[in-house]
């Protein structure tokens, strides 16, 4: 990739301007990315703390720390906050905003004002959510009817908050698709795009097409509670399973909204720290689109025991197996990239390797759940809880932490303490496995999920899981402190500490206000590491 000499005498960092309004009214994609990063991180820490409280209650079989109702509220909040406020906007909104224009060589996104509006809408959603905490719902994050239509707790506010967030998600996705189509620098052809961009593109398509469906579904649920509409109420001729169909039509693609950007991050980190081109670029790029497409056709695999017809169950089981294929392809490609590389185990790389390890477990246990006969036994047990967390924490959160450590110097112009980062990684990795691996066994033994109290036969594994959550919590705490400390007292970061070829590393750290002094001309892809053979050159 072409090198660009930046005239340092006119360099103004995007972080230089100070004051509340310079942030609140900013249309700079890098600053909006930071706003999202702060917001989602706060929600991650809040929802994570709630999870620790839940695990503490589950240390013993009886309900001795909180009442069953409070426990139900806790898991509802944990799920809703994690899913809708942290992980769905997550990487896409924070790193997507920061990286997309920088990686494609653009000064900003296509619609900077709309971008700011998306963030405000996100804020509005969070404010509604905070009001919803006054009388918190106890429905679980899936809001299944008829319970959600009948419970005394307030469901309208929390679903309204999620509904509003949906707009933010849609507008962000729209902005990114247009940006990737229209704002690429000259020479940045589709097949030279960094894989994070391909991932963001696939994610944005999902956001656009799936989010409106959950929007209308939650709107109908609100109408059910406020106007007495009865689409999901059997007493009025409605069908509670219809809600599940609608809900998963969104929420299954949403799983990929959460995971695909993390896959994009891994595809960026591994080549840089292996000093090797990514293996099978096109396969990885198109498998993102493939996953996005198939993800619209597998929603009913969440409903094999819900009372859907056998034919439907069979078709959805088959399609579910199909979605495993592009995912497997990615894993093999990442492993192949390591082959004959020059591998540096930087903390970001450790998170990437941790991702492959944990996500493989998450993916393989998904095969159990796709197989009809096995799913009947495992559905709605701790096996699901474990599988989901291996995909969401082992996958997305590992990707998120990897991205944080990888682009930290670029984004903030500072370095963090690498040894502490490695220690935190180790605690997180061990703590995570101690927390969630026993849950696979609990599930196989029949322990149902969402139980405030549980039979004594499960106590030893449940306690082990709780101990693990303490290690995991400690690891995340150390990581957070380390990253925050770096902001204030970290060394100044060089422009390109890891020798990456991607465009965002060819500008100073932190990037200048306008990103590029001059729009770059791209002549090669960003994975041209390693020595080409004479014949190839």
């Amino acid at each position: 990739m072409a090198n660009h000499t930046i005239a340092t005498n006119v360099y103004v960092s995007f972080l230089d301007k100070k004051g509340f309004l310079s942030w609140f009214l900013t249309t700079d994609h890098k600053r909006i990315g930071i706003l999202y990063l702060i917001s989602i991180s706060l929600f991650f820490l809040i929802a994570g703390t709630i999870a620790l409280l839940m695990r503490f209650e589950l240390l013993t079989p009886a309900s001795d720390f909180v009442s069953p109702h409070t426990y139900n509220v806790l898991f509802t909040l944990h799920g809703s906050l994690m899913v809708f406020f942290f992980i769905v906007p997550g990487l896409a909104a924070s790193f997507g905003n920061f990286l997309i224009p920088l990686m494609i060589g653009a000064p900003d996104v296509s619609f900077p004002k709309l971008n700011l509006a998306s963030y405000w809408i996100y804020l509005l959603g969070t404010i509604i959510m905070l009001f919803a905490l006054l009388q918190p719902a106890d429905t679980g994050w899936t809001f299944y009817t008829p319970y959600s239509a009948n419970t005394d707790a307030d469901v309208i506010l929390i679903t309204l908050g999620v509904f509003v967030l949906g707009f933010s998600s849609i507008l962000t996705g729209l902005n990114f698709i247009v940006t990737i189509h229209k704002m690429r620098a000259p020479g940045m052809t589709w097949h030279r795009l960094p894989l994070f961009i391909w991932a963001s593109y696939a994610t944005a398509i999902l956001q656009l097409l799936a989010t409106p469906v959950v929007g209308i579904t939650l709107l109908l649920l609100i109408a059910e509670r406020s106007l007495g509409v009865g689409f999901f109420d059997p007493a009025k001729g409605g069908d509670p399973v219809l809600f599940q169909n609608f809900f998963w039509f969104y929420s299954h693609p949403a799983v990929y909204i959460m995971i695909i950007p993390a896959m994009g991050v891994i595809s960026e980190i591994i080549p840089v720290f292996s000093r090797k081109p990514i293996f099978g670029y096109k396969a990885i790029a198109y498998s993102s689109l493939g996953i996005a497409f198939i993800s619209f056709l597998v929603w009913a695999h969440h409903m094999f025991t819900s009372g859907i017809s056998e034919v439907a169950a069979t078709i959805f089981s088959f399609l579910t197996f199909l979605v495993a294929i592009p995912t497997a392809i990615k894993v093999f490609n990442w492993i192949a990239t390591l082959y004959k590389g020059s591998i540096e185990l930087h903390s970001a790389m450790l998170y990437a390797l941790g991702f492959i390890f944990l996500f493989t477990i998450g993916g393989l246990t998904g095969v159990f759940l796709g197989a009809l006969a096995a799913d009947i036994h495992l559905h709605d047990t701790y096996f699901i809880v474990a599988h989901m967390h291996y995909v969401m924490i082992g996958g997305t959160v590992m990707g998120f932490f990897g991205a944080l450590h990888f682009w930290y110097p670029k984004w903030f112009g500072k370095m963090f303490n690498e040894s502490v980062a490695k220690l935190a990684w180790f605690l997180i990795f061990v703590g995570f496995n101690v927390t969630f691996f026993p849950q696979f066994f609990l599930g196989v033994q029949g322990m149902p999920r969402r139980y405030a109290t549980y039979p004594e036969e499960f106590q030893s594994l449940m306690s082990l899981s709780t101990y693990g959550s303490w290690i995991l919590g400690l690891g995340i705490l150390i990581m957070t402190v380390n990253l925050l400390k770096g902001l204030f007292s970290g060394e100044k970061a060089p422009q390109n500490p890891y020798g990456s070829l991607s465009l965002e590393w060819q500008v100073p750290s932190p990037p200048p206000l306008e990103n590029f002094e001059e729009i770059p001309h791209v002549t090669d892809w960003s994975y041209g590491y390693g020595k080409k053979k004479e014949v190839d050159a």
Binding site: P234, T314, S317, L364, A371, V444
Partner: protein
Amino acid sequence: MTWIPEAASNLAGKVDGVLLVITLISIFFFVLISALLIYFAVKYRRRREDEETPYITGSEPLEILWTVIPSILLILLFVYGFVVYKEMRTPPKDSVDITVTGKQWLWTFDYYNGKKTLNELYVRQNIPVRMIMRADDVLHSFFIPAFRVKQDLLPGRYTQLWFTPTKIGTYDIFCAEYCGTGHSAMLGKVVVLSPEAYDIWEKGIGVDDGAAVASLPPAELGEKIYKEKGCNACHSIDGSIVIGPSFKGLYGRTGVLEDGSSYTADENYIMRSILEPQEEMVQGFQPVMPSFKGILSEDDITAVIAYMKTLK
């Protein structure tokens, strides 16, 4: 500790077969991937800053290989899972029907022979049973881990599942679909009886009410009923209010009813509250308790009251 609950139905072994095959394939791929990951990370770790690496961008044969092999395996697993599922969904013609109703937070069983039980399902060894299921209020899910069967119960629609119990014993029934505050207390037992024991039970002599149980002192029998008939889902014995009032200190209490009149929780009031729970509601509680008419005998109720009296 065992890996998986004892296989106590005809279907369990088949489901375990599917689980086992997928587990073996998963372990193979997991070991393969993590071994390569660790091996590469160690073998190719960076030793010098200026190390040269080859420019490898892909390999079509490899990529085809690792697309095709998993695809074939996945399709085989799909077929295997489907074949067993098909059998799990097709009850034999000679099965006996038992109706299950799920209600927050109790299971009610109505038998083909006219019997009715609460939270305890009695089945005969080696006779196929078809459960016809319905929910009264919200979604529930009927789950017997030892039988490897699970099916949601829906309001306004029947669903079904079937199994043939193969081993005599008592096994857990869980509600697997979240159904509100008492979800984790919506537990039951399935009791698999030998043909002879089942005949005795069917003739109306409660298996539990055999000589041993009948000779229990009333308070102890009451405690047994409290635990087995689902009272504990909503009524605590430590004074905390779960759904209904705690049994602690309940006997003899006075207070105000929904309609403003006052009540004293004497034997008669408690009996009426068990048989017609909606009639005299105490202020501050929801009318959600089902009637135990036909489920608890007068002797049973006397025993429960005796138990309450011990909870001061």
